[in-house]
Amino acid sequence: MILSLINLIILLFAPFLVIGVIKKTKAFWAGRKGVSIWQPLRDFVRLMRKDYVISETTSWIFKFSPMVTFATVIFAGLFVPMVQGYSVINMPGGFILFSYILGLGKFFSLIAAMDTGSSFEGMGASREACFTTIVEPAFFIIMASIIALTGNFTFHGLSQVIANAGGLGVLIIVLAVLALFVMLLTECCRVPVDDPTTHLELTMIHEVMILDNSGQDLGLITWAAGIKMVILESLIAALIIPMNLSLGYSLLAFLGVIFGLAVVIGTLESGIARLRMSHVFEFIFSMSSFALIILALVAIKIYGN
């Protein structure tokens, strides 16, 4: 019960801080003082209090979709193991439901973008839909390989890789972390896939899909995007952190990974530029290659002799 509560609190409030830490890191590398890490939360509160303007082209889909996006990330978040490897909903085959629930959110965010009749938003939607087709199969290969290795059908299999594969497990974990990190950059639209702070609509992906959203809707969407980032970071954390730590250490380790990854993302964004759109596909395909190597390693581990 306490763990559920901790999970929910992290799920709901960590996103603002994670975004804040990324901004702070970028400011540090740019030699600026930067805004407070509480600023994203303040922005959110301000957005929720604002009125909004909607496009006259839109239908009920446009108003309905931010709620679907929000609800789906919340529910997907309940499946993910967090502190002490505990997840609120823990069922066999949970990762399938997890991915498909996120898929439902994506479906609605795509049609909401198309609802405005804007060519820019259509462009963003079409790119986002396209990236998903590369990311999802790779994610399924990784999860299925880990299930084959550990025999555990829940997300807990992620933290049992070492126990089942020994030395080879380290390699598998490194590759899985890399693959999930690429997934994180893609799904959350960070550099080098997408630059959330860009000012040119033509090059945007996620930001351009929500050009016409404002007020509460925009608030919900940015919150949801942050939650999604925390969810994907938690998956990486589940791979790295052993499950049998005490509550205090586990909490510390978990928050360390979450904010550590935020620092890594911020550093990455300061260090490199976003890729040209045609090279983005190649970058995301690296996830598929990691996934296939993981599959090969698992096959070697099980049938090596």
């Binding site: 709620m67 609800a71 085959g93 629930i101 479906f107 198309m114 079409s126 299930i147």
Partner: protein
């Protein structure tokens, strides 16, 4: 059982009766009788499904082809439910859909009659257990659907599509006859029950029979590479016919494959891998080409190929489970595959009905000229959206349930001690995931280009009302089904115990039921959470002034600056360029003030472009050498007869 016999004949009676009533009552009579038939069918079928005992009846026992036996076993009962309910929905929908054709001198009577015949013959196909009578019913089914396809026979492309369909169906029946002929010769009987022994004693023979049967029935079902008739025939037929053909009739192909599998018992590894791999390819191929299409019904036809592939993946997984003697895999695979048959028939019919409603109001199937229809046609748009979400396999709708069962079956199969199985299953899982995401891309495309944004032409602009209640009502019912199966999967799966039990003995279903209960709880909680959010939003109702869409500073947007279906699919398709044959139609702008310029991209089916067309051409070339023989000269034809008689005579005298 006698009830079922009446149910089987009821649609035919309706069809015949409709010949003698006034024009605008014909389809009402047909739908009334199909309603009666549905009720009468469901009584014995539900009885069999829930109790697991088969019913049988032999109205004609003593003929040269053996007894005409009708058997309702659990597998047949499942298909009877699908056929009768979906048939009735289509009949109901046809009342509204066919109104524009009523006073145009189109032949509604024959349409009604053939529709009834199609229903009856499908009901017969899934229950007859005698090879000869099965083929008779199968032919009636193919022919009646052929006549339904060519309803608008004044259009050339409709006739072409119909003839293509007819040819495919006859290649299909050729293979089926071959299968049954081999079985009959070896078993000495035409009764399905007698085939069991010869199939179970000889693995090689069973493999041969299965492959032949798979080709024959696979052409009907639309597995790649036998799929080419689907994208031609479905757009040509009236929408409710497309719905029945895609939702129900192609499933009789799956039924045939399942029936042979039933007789074989434990399949060999070879055919199990064969089915799984062909199915994965079909699913990917179908959805890939669906993304390239701009014709709504062609797109849906390609999605039928995809979904037949998903059904096949379920069946293939089940077969692998049987072959490796891993019961949970077999149970989950078959349960997923069989449930997907029902699910696909529901949402595919719903989508075809939606496409039909759009066609009726706009007179076009080209999505590129539509747009903004959600305002004029709110109900159609809503139900089409439900169908789209369901077909993408997203929770809380029914498509997810069957896909989850299949996924979970494959995951269970990873524990089987075989490297080949591990690699094939994980790649199939990835394939299924890829199919799911590509379906999302495809249906966000078709839904948003058709229904959202601004109208792209006058055709969409001039629509000012939704379709009539007789068309909206069946869509509503089907949409309700998709949701009900999605949130009460643990109830639905109980009805699958008996059909799955036909393939797997001692089915340990409780595990599957508890899985489904978990999903049901999550889905219900999700729906409640959504409802809560909507209520909060309504209570905190902020005023929202309207403004034109943000155009990056350009404030006179018009309908031509919107994204199109081609451009939406373009980033994805550009990754896979080698898999298509692209046909560009470009007229570049010239001079200082360019007047007419256009660009359009048409993508052809690679199988058709590089294999089928050259093959047909070469056959044509060869056959054209015999053209001289057929010169229209009667005298010469008489001469041929004479020559033939003389040769026969000589043959008889010297050889006989």
């Amino acid at each position: 059982m006698e009830i079922y016999f009446i149910a089987l004949l009821a649609p035919i009676a309706g069809g015949l009766m409709s010949l003698f009533v006034k024009e605008n009552f014909k389809l009402k009579v047909v739908s009334f009788f199909s309603f009666i038939s549905m009720i009468l069918c469901l009584i014995p079928a539900m009885h069999v499904l829930l109790n697991g005992e088969s019913l049988s009846m032999s109205p004609i026992t003593d003929t040269m082809f053996g007894a005409l036996t009708f058997v309702i076993d659990p597998l047949a009962a499942f298909f009877i439910c699908v056929i009768s309910v979906m048939g009735f929905m289509a009949a109901l929908y046809s009342n509204g859909y066919m109104t524009p054709y009523l006073n145009k001198g189109m032949n509604i009577s024959s349409h009604g009659l053939f529709f009834s015949l199609l229903l009856s013959s499908m009901l017969a196909v899934v229950t007859i257990q005698n090879a000869f009578y099965f083929l008779v019913a199968w032919e009636i089914m193919s022919l009646s659907s052929f006549f339904l396809v060519i309803f608008e026979d004044n259009k050339k492309e409709v006739l072409n599509a119909g003839i293509k369909y007819l040819i495919y169906m006859h290649i299909s029946v050729l293979f089926i006859i071959l299968t049954f002929a081999l079985l009959c010769i070896n078993s000495g009987s035409m009764n399905f029950g007698m085939f069991r022994e010869v199939l179970q004693n000889n693995v090689q023979f069973a493999n041969l029979i299965f492959i032949l049967g798979f080709i024959g029935f696979g052409i009907k079902a639309g597995f790649v590479p036998f799929h080419n008739w689907l994208p031609e025939a479905h757009p040509a037929a009236p929408s409710h016919v497309s719905g029945v053909m895609s939702g129900v009739m192609i499933k009789t192909g799956i039924y045939g494959i399942l029936r042979i599998l039933c007789l074989i018992g434990i399949p060999s590894l070879f055919i199990s891998y064969f089915v799984l791999i062909v199915s994965v390819i079909s699913a990917l191929y179908g959805v890939l080409y669906a993304i390239t299409q701009h014709d709504m019904k062609r797109l849906l036809a390609y999605h039928s190929i995809e979904n037949i592939g998903i059904i096949g993946i379920g069946i293939g997984t089940g077969m692998l489970g049987l072959a490796y003697d891993c019961i949970p895999v077999a149970v989950l695979g078959f349960a997923g595959g069989i449930l997907h048959i029902l699910n696909h028939s529901i949402f595919k019919e719903l989508l075809f009905f939606g496409a039909g409603a759009v066609y009726k109001q706009t007179h076009t199937r080209d999505v590129e000229v539509l747009g903004g229809l959600i305002k004029a046609m709110p109900y159609t748009a809503f139900f089409f959206l439900v169908g789209s979400v369901a077909i993408c396999g997203l929770p809380p709708f029914n498509g997810f349930i069957s896909e989850f069962l299949i996924y979970f079956g494959m995951l269970q199969g990873l524990a089987v001690n075989s490297l080949g199985m591990l690699i094939v299953l994980i790649l199939s899982i990835a394939g299924l995931a890829l199919v799911g995401t590509m379906a999302i891309l495809c249906f966000t495309k078709v839904f948003s280009i058709c229904f959202l944004g601004m109208p792209r032409s006058d055709k969409a602009e001039n629509v000012n009302s939704d379709v009539s209640i007789s068309m909206v009502f069946p869509m509503g019912i089907l949409a309700l089904f998709t949701l009900l199966i999605g949130i009460f999967p643990h109830q639905i799966i109980k009805a699958l115990f008996a059909p799955v039990g036909m393939f797997v003995n001692n089915t340990p279903m409780p595990a599957a039921v508890s899985l489904m209960q978990n999903i049901a709880i999550v889905c219900l909680a999700f729906i409640m959470f959504m409802a809560l959010l909507v209520i909060v939003k309504c209570v905190a109702n902020r005023k929202a002034p309207l403004h034109c869409t943000w155009g990056c500073g350009y404030d006179k947007p018009n309908n031509h600056i919107q994204y199109t279906a081609s451009s939406y699919a373009s980033p994805f398709l550009s990754m896979l360029t080698p898999l298509f044959k692209k046909v560009f139609d470009i007229k570049k702008p010239k001079e200082l003030f360019p007047k007419d310029s256009h660009f359009s991209l048409h993508i052809e089916d690679v199988e058709e472009a590089y294999f089928l067309t050259p093959f047909v051409r070469s056959v044509e070339k060869f056959l054209s050498k015999f053209e001289r023989i057929q010169n229209g000269n009667i005298q010469q034809y008489i001469l041929y007869g004479l020559v033939f008689l003389i040769i026969t005579l000589i043959g008889v005298v010297f050889l006989g």
